[in-house]
Structure formats: structure tokens, C-alpha cells
Symmetry: C2
DNA sequence: AAGTGGTCTAGACCACGTT
DNA sequence: ACGTGGTCTAGACCACTTT
């Protein structure tokens, strides 16, 4: 019709409805659409974008579910808030990628790294034989040069072999796995809790014992559902928090550093 | 075609694709489909359910996005895990509803309740005039009779009037607002952090000072996007945690009590 | 009563994984 | 080469909000 390749199907690499969603996001960021404004009806959007109604709906579904637009049956859609710069859908992949996207300098180094027998708990978390070996890595990560978190990650053997050969001060293991080895983190399960800073963590983070830490358990998966890593992360609670948003369907999730209040 | 009312549109109260999704969920729970099994193709499912392909896709989209099924282009879908009993999509509405759904006895009482001027921070969180009044409520909540969290909630005037007249030991304010006043919590933004137990919290929870607390900031919204409350909740970290799951689209989110490991 | 969004139909093409 | 899922078309009906 008026497209890259020619009519139907996915034309380029990005789906039509995702490009439409981005276009609407940009209109909101540019101020063409303000918070509280009504959105044009789906029918008229379909005409102006020259797509069928279903495609527009697909696009708007993304914006409704991440809380950018309201969505009630029969009611005109309204702009609820300005979407965050980096499409938050994609954020909860990697701390380093989040930091970079927000103009912060992520850093980190491996403190300890060794092969261990998985054991019951780790084995069931990443679905490997409890007797198989996993690579256990202890990392300290920093933001703009300041240490903010301790990370204790276990990789199944297949990934451990790849991670083992990476430089110890690599900025983003996740990015390296994606770019070089085509192993992409597609989702994760998380549990949030809290703990107080013990002796080892205090030394690693360079703070006094007794400080509150946000405890973040995480099992990351590929798109095929294969567990890629299990990690226990501990954040200095007054410096780094984790933000989650849940709507009808989608939840965005990302990090917040001290003083940031863009989320709530 | 062979439906409640007659062909098209939503027939009963629940959409066809949601019922199909539930049916597939049940097949997994019953063991008809085991973890790792391939799902029948969308085309054949469409035939057996007597719906059009798009409707099946809508159903499977739900299961893919909450991590129950895998979803890669061109690849047969597989069962990734057994979905949790209560559709986790719906859980992160209310602590009391989560507890009830899990067979636990939620409890709680209002410790303090008063009208205050909103102020800058609260005002911007729930989008009301900073000079307007809000009802600020301090609650202690329990699980099976054991105190587990402290809740400091601010309601805008419209809701505060309703909440004020509720009994102080009401099990679920959220349910009361939904059932009686038709005010439904549809989504929320959350920030997780940590803190240590101070004097007031220690007294309220009946524990010693210095214990780690999971700090949970929350702004809840209606489906129209209207902010309904802002709350700062503090959980005894060793007893109650919060679980989040994020996939391609959806994130489920709910609570976990001590010893539970169903999530990871 | 009119308009809008939510749901559904019955097809089609294409990218991708698998054979 | 084939099957599958992801995307898209061009319609329709119904529930709900708004006027």
C-alpha cells in the first residue's frame, strides 16, 4: 500500500503497530497531545495511518497496558501520563542497559568467580540437575563510580562457559550475551524483600554494617522460557530502588536512583 | 454459533478468549498438558473451540505474556510452567484479596485516622491540589493473626469520605470500595526499597527495632487512570515478600509469605 | 440516540523454526 | 519445503459511556 516492501505482513523489522505506538508516544512527548487530552477515535486513526482498525487497536493496546492511555469500554481514550523516554517495556533486562538509557555510567567488577555444584535450590530455580555444576559469580556494581549493589549470580553450565571467558570489568554481561552469542533475556521472575547489611556486604559496598538493603531475587528467562540465570541482588536502599507498574495487562519495571521521582 | 446468546460479540460477561485461556490453564493444572509439552497449533485449537483463529491467539497471548507458555515466531508453543491457582493477573489489587485467595486469614485495624492537607508530595502523587484535604490512615495488617505490615495510606477527599465511615477493623477496604461503591482498583505504580524498623513501627508490629523492613510505595489507579490512593507499606521482610513476573508484555505481581517458594 | 471501544469473524501474507 | 506463529485486512455486532 505505501510501505517498505508491499502490503501485508511485517514489512521491515519492526511491526506496523509498534511503529504506530511509538508515533503516538512521541506525539505525547512533543506536547501535541497533553495529559488529559482525548485521543482521536480508533476509526479515524486507522484512516490517517492507512491501516485497518485492528492494527490501530494493537498499537493502542500497548499504550493502555503500560498506563500511558486510559482504556474503558465505550469511553474515549485519554492521555494519562507522559511515557518514559526508553520504552519501559524493554527496560527490566539489565541494570547496565537501564543505566545507559538514563544517561548514567554503569560499572562493575567481578569479585569472585567459581564453579560449584548447583544444589537443590539453585537447581530448581534454573531447572538444571542439582548435581550439575554452575558458575557462581559475585559482582559489585556501581553507578557513576559509586558502588550501589552486590550481585550473586549463578549461570547454568552452558552460559557459565561463556561468562567465564568475559573480562571481569565488563560493563554489561547481558549485552555481551545478546550481541555476541544471541542469547537474549526476555523476561524474569522477581521477589523483593529486605535485609540489613552484613560484614561481607559492608566491605564490598564500602558502607557501615546495619544499613538497610533491598533484596532482589531474580530468575531470568529466554523467549523460549529457558532459565538463563538466577541472581540475588542487594541494593543500597537509600540510593537505588526498583519501580514496577502494573495495569490491565502490562507491567513496566525499572530502577530508580536516589532523588528520582519520575515514577510516582 | 453455539453460544450463550448467539454468534458475535461478547456473549456472557466473560470474553470468549478469556474462557479459552482459562480452559487451557486448567488443562495444564489437571496434568492433561505437562510442562515441556507442545501445545496444539492455533489453527487446530480454533477448530476445536469453534472460534476464529484471532480469538485463539488472543487467548494464548495471555498465557504467553504471563510466562505460562513460550512464544517464538514459527516455533510450536510449549508449556513453560503450571499457572498459579488464582490468575495472577488479577492479584495485585489488594493484600486482603490475595490472602483470601491463598487460604490465609487477612486481618487489620485502623490505628490512626485523620484529615490532613495533602501537601506537595501527596498531592502530586494522587493528582489533587496540594492544599486540598486528604484522609490519612495508619493501619496494621495481619496474616493468620500475626502482624506483618504497617500501611500509611492517603485517600483523596472523595474516597476519604467513604473510607472514613467504614468500620476500623474492616477486612478489605478495596473490596468494600469495589462492591459497594463501584470503585475498582485497576492498576498501580510501585517502588520497592528497604528500611530498618524504627520505634513507632516496632511498637505497631510488636518486634524489636532494627529489623529489616521491605518498603513498598504504591499509587493505585482506576481503569480511567484516576489515582485512588497513595500508600507507603512496610512489611516484615522475613515474613512477607513481594513477587513480580515480567515477560514480553504482562507482569503478574503478588505477595509471598515466609517459606513459600512457589514463585521462583 | 449517537459514538466509541471491546470483541469476534474469516480470511491472507510473511518470517521463522523445523524437517 | 513445510508448518507455525506473528501480523494484517476489512469488515460486523455488542456493551458501555456520553450527549
Amino acid at each position: 500500500m505505501g510501505n517498505g516492501t508491499d502490503g501485508r505482513g511485517a514489512s521491515a523489522s519492526v511491526a506496523r503497530y509498534e511503529r504506530i505506538a511509538d508515533q503516538v508516544r512521541n506525539e505525547i512527548r512533543n506536547g501535541e497531545l497533553k495529559v488529559g487530552d482525548f485521543l482521536a477515535s480508533e476509526a479515524s486513526l486507522a484512516k490517517s495511518f492507512e491501516v485497518s482498525p485492528g492494527t490501530v487497536r494493537e498499537a493502542l493496546r500497548l499504550l493502555v497496558s503500560d498506563g500511558t492511555l486510559s482504556g474503558r469500554r465505550g469511553a474515549r481514550k485519554t492521555v494519562l501520563r507522559i511515557p518514559r523516554p526508553a520504552s519501559t517495556q524493554e527496560e527490566f533486562r539489565s541494570f547496565a542497559q537501564w543505566a545507559t538509557a538514563h544517561g548514567r555510567q554503569p560499572g562493575g567488577r567481578v569479585v569472585e568467580q567459581q564453579w560449584q555444584i548447583a544444589g537443590e535450590e539453585t537447581g530448581s530455580a534454573i531447572k538444571v540437575d542439582p548435581r550439575s555444576r554452575v558458575l557462581r559469580v559475585l559482582r559489585v556494581r556501581s553507578l557513576d563510580g559509586e558502588r550501589v549493589m552486590v550481585e550473586r549470580t549463578s549461570y547454568p553450565e552452558r552460559l557459565g562457559i561463556l561468562v567465564e571467558s568475559m573480562p571481569p570489568d565488563l560493563e554489561s554481561v547481558t549485552r555481551e550475551l545478546a550481541d555476541v552469542h544471541d542469547i537474549v533475556f526476555a523476561g524474569a521472575d522477581h521477589v523483593f524483600s529486605a535485609t540489613v547489611c552484613g560484614q561481607q556486604d559492608a566491605a564490598l559496598l564500602g558502607v557501615a554494617r546495619g544499613r538497610p538493603l533491598l533484596r532482589h531475587l531474580r530468575v531470568s528467562r529466554s523467549a523460549a522460557g529457558e532459565p538463563l540465570e538466577v541472581s540475588e541482588d542487594r541494593y543500597l536502599a537509600n540510593i537505588l530502588s526498583v519501580a514496577v507498574s502494573n495495569g490491565r495487562n502490562v507491567n513496566a519495571i525499572g530502577w530508580l536512583s536516589a532523588g528520582e521521582s519520575g515514577w510516582l
